[in-house]
Symmetry: C2
Subunit: 247 residues, 2 copies
DNA sequence: CGCGCGCTTGATCAGCATCAATTCGCGTGG
DNA sequence: CCACGCGAATTGATGCTGATCAAGCGCGCG
């Protein structure tokens, strides 16, 4: 595997090779974490931030009865808790979904980098802005779509995001979530998630089996989920049409 | 009214007076906008960002049937669309709620400021991070709480945020939302919002009448809404216990 | 003074939760 | 090699939360 691979994503393609290398050199060795492992607990002070190298990691919050709400889902190339760099503690738990690989960046190193390399600081900010945009899409999804639409929308988002970092072959991708995990993201019970998936399968839109998604009718799926990928700012990020603070 | 008043909020109390003045000098004159006015439309290119000076402004996204989902609600001192500075277009509509006053910051001016004043750039980033944290609370609220809890949680959040900028007298504050607006934030119909408000009133928790909220039992309200204000990072922001990048 | 918007209340309906039971796949140990 | 155990998937029956439909009320404003 190309060693610079875990630096792509979230607009970091726009950094110069030197900047990418500088960033990568500040990261720790790659650590492998187990499925369902809680990596950081809500409220704890943090002094480093985590980048997903392989697999999926989510942020979640628990209600009074211990029920989990997934508040975001991160793919390779995503920082999971970059906000900890500025806020020094997290308002969510960080939990691995399936086995995953991560690297960590010490906050001292990040402070050093962002002080001397404004473009790196800028890319951190950009990453946070994309996070927020994705959060807004999740709010929209929970609020305005019903079960099938929510599910369709999430699959469209994941497909689009994975495609941006080269992890989706045309219309299929690996997704190591259980149906209950999916429900925790979509605010559905496991039982109902199962029924929705069956419906989507029977309608010829997609299959989700053996931790693998195959999208059979992307257009219909996007329509059902009212999915408009504009909020992922894909073209803006990958094509550096106009660089900020720089000619 | 103190002219520096509209600079407080979102951690900008931590800036030096000089930095606050510098920022304020970059803003346009205060503009008054009408109730329900759409200030920026989703997808349009933007070249300035807006700070709320007085009143309330929300971000919203519409579904296929034109139904609005409010994705965030901004109070005086909040930037509404600072992400437009980096992303150059918005993934949401900006809509005034009730009459409001705003100032705008030209993106060129912001670029200039953040280039020469890293602490200002940092405060912009921090503001984005708080936005994201609030988004996550909204996701949690929509996902894990039912109607009464959602409503309680939102009122707790608004009370806490308004208190941070000195706009809540102990347990009451102005809130120029209709019940339908509230429903658009909470994902409830106007009819059900009305029933929930009645229930909360009858239980002695709060009243919301004549665009004014009075909280009668804050503790019970917080418990019903499972509200933990940690995600607002209030103490961290107002008490500069440890300044980043600076002694 | 009447029109419209927001608030209020009642009746019915639908989406999804909940409860319950069975099956399937897979790793583990006898 | 097979019995066992456990988590995940699947399916059926029933109930609750909140949507929808409908109607009346209060009040500010043109």
């Amino acid at each position: 595997m190309n060693s610079s691979k875990f630096l792509t994503g979230r607009g970091r393609e726009r950094l110069t090779l030197e900047e990418q290398t500088l960033l990568e050199d500040s990261s720790s060795d790659v650590q492998t974490v187990k499925a369902r492992e809680t990596l950081v607990r809500r409220g704890e002070p943090v002094c480093s931030s985590m980048l997903v190298v392989d697999g999926f990691v989510c942020r979640s919050a628990d209600d009074h009865r211990g029920q989990r709400q997934m508040v975001s889902l991160h793919i390779p190339g995503d920082f999971v808790d970059l906000d900890g760099f500025k806020l020094k503690r997290l308002d969510y738990n960080v939990v691995a979904i399936g086995a995953a690989k991560v690297t960590t960046y010490n906050h001292d190193a990040l402070a050093d980098l962002s002080e001397h390399r404004p473009r790196l600081a800028e890319s951190f900010w950009l990453s946070s802005l994309l996070d927020a945009a994705i959060h807004r899409a999740w709010i929209f999804r929970l609020g305005r779509l019903e079960a099938e639409g929510r599910t369709a929308h999430l699959f469209c988002e994941l497909h689009a995001r994975l495609e941006m970092v080269g992890l989706a072959q045309s219309a299929s991708f690996a997704l190591p979530l259980t149906q209950i995990d999916l429900g925790a993201a979509l605010n559905l019970t496991g039982v109902h998630t199962n029924r929705v998936l069956r419906s989507l399968r029977e309608r010829g839109l997609l299959t989700f089996q053996n931790r693998k998604v195959e999208i059979h009718d992307q257009k219909a799926l996007a329509q059902l989920g009212e999915f408009d990928p504009a909020y992922l700012y894909a073209t803006d990020l990958i094509t550096p049409s106009r660089r900020p603070l720089d000619g």
